[in-house]
């Protein structure tokens, strides 16, 4: 076995019952080469300071719970290898979100926005079960599949300066999910989503910085979804003058 070095993890702490603002606290942590930031946090919680709060679940980049700022970059703590990071690693809660406690952020705003874009298949009339399933060709699936991979980890919101400047912005992943359902040939709910998608707080608040897509751990590319919806909304606008379908 190789020798294990020790590194320092600086964690932003915020205990609402005692702290008026967040403070950093340093912990010495061993650094085996297979450890990620989440392992270090678990080590701290198990052996040094059980009061440290953070979200995690799967430890395999599937659940989307452990998003946080690692050395200033929004990352999943379970994908952030310590061996790539030097002797001191600074861990903070996701930017652009209110801090609930330590590394835990308040997600209420996101959940509300996610609900608003109706992220599910909407049919004008449901087909009776006995008529069978809705069929889909591989090409129809491929059209939207990348947008289904979103795990709601919120790294994109943390990377988005527009969301930071205007928290009313619906934001990258909720819009990407709206696009996912709009592109699905089984869905008929685009007109209902447009009320939010094409609003001022919708796609038009995005100025295509593109940081959301760069930090996305699942390569969803929310920026592409938003730009495509801008084009589609613009088409709607002009077709509206021609009396076309919205």
């Amino acid at each position: 076995m190789s020798e294990t070095s020790t590194i320092t993890i600086e964690v932003m702490r915020y205990r609402p019952e005692t702290d008026s603002e967040p403070v950093f606290q340093s912990y010495p942590v061993p650094c085996p080469k297979e450890w990620v930031v989440l392992d270090a946090l678990n080590y701290i919680k198990d052996t040094i300071d059980s009061s440290l709060s953070y979200r995690w679940s799967c430890h395999m980049a599937v659940c989307g719970s452990c998003g946080m700022m690692v050395n200033g970059e929004p990352m999943l703590a379970c994908k952030a290898f310590l061996r790539d990071m030097g002797d001191t690693v600074r861990v903070e809660p996701l930017l652009n979100f209110p801090i609930e406690r330590d590394l835990v952020v308040a997600m209420d705003d996101f959940i509300e926005k996610l609900t608003s874009i109706k992220p599910y298949i909407i049919r004008k009339t449901e087909k009776p079960v006995e008529e069978g399933t809705y069929l889909q060709t591989p090409a129809q699936l491929k059209r939207y599949k990348q947008y289904t991979l979103c795990i709601n980890c919120l790294l994109c919101y943390s990377a988005c300066p527009q969301y930071g400047l205007n928290p009313d912005f619906i934001g990258p992943s909720a819009l990407a999910l709206a696009h996912r359902y709009n592109l699905d040939n089984r869905d008929e709910g685009r007109a209902l989503r447009q009320e939010f998608v094409a609003s001022h707080e919708g796609v038009w608040e995005c100025s295509f910085v593109g940081a959301c897509s760069e930090v996305c751990p699942k390569h969803v590319d929310p920026a592409s979804a938003v730009q495509q919806m801008k084009i589609a909304s613009t088409k709607d606008y002009f077709l509206g003058f021609l009396g076309g379908n919205r």
């Binding site: 609402p16 930017l95 990377a159 300066p161 592409s224």
Partner: protein
């Protein structure tokens, strides 16, 4: 238990200094100002042309001043930067599907560069360069 979420303020004036991505974004956006300025100069040229031969000759002579040449070089560099940054993101805004697959992004970007080259060539031939 009552909640007391802490909100970290974001600077309205210097947020773009925080991240290299934001700086690159600002560079892309700011470079359009020089394109705007060049368009102004170009419009001025058309205005002068409409005023007659003398006015247009004076305008053309003014373009040979060192400051004017410098302005055009900077405007050209900024326009190229601005245009190429947009070309490079076109596959995200306009993905194309052919059959069951997406057309590779490099082809979409390449088509923009090709169209740019052809347009430039046509204009150069038209002005007899």
């Amino acid at each position: 238990m009552s909640r007391k979420p802490y909100i970290r303020p974001m600077s309205k004036t210097s947020w773009y200094l925080r991240d290299g991505r934001y700086k690159r974004y600002m560079a892309r956006e700011v470079t359009c100002l020089l394109i705007g300025a060049y368009t102004g100069v170009f419009a001025m040229g058309i205005w002068r042309l409409a005023e007659g031969r003398e006015a247009f000759t004076a305008f053309m002579a003014a373009l040979h001043a060192p400051g004017a040449i410098m302005f055009h070089l900077v405007a050209l560099a900024f326009s190229i930067y601005h245009s190429t940054t947009w070309f490079n993101v076109t596959p995200q805004a306009m993905p194309l599907m052919k059959g069951e697959d997406f057309v590779p992004g490099t082809l979409i970007v390449g088509a923009h560069y090709a169209a740019w080259a052809v347009a430039s060539l046509v204009i150069l031939i038209a002005v007899g360069a």
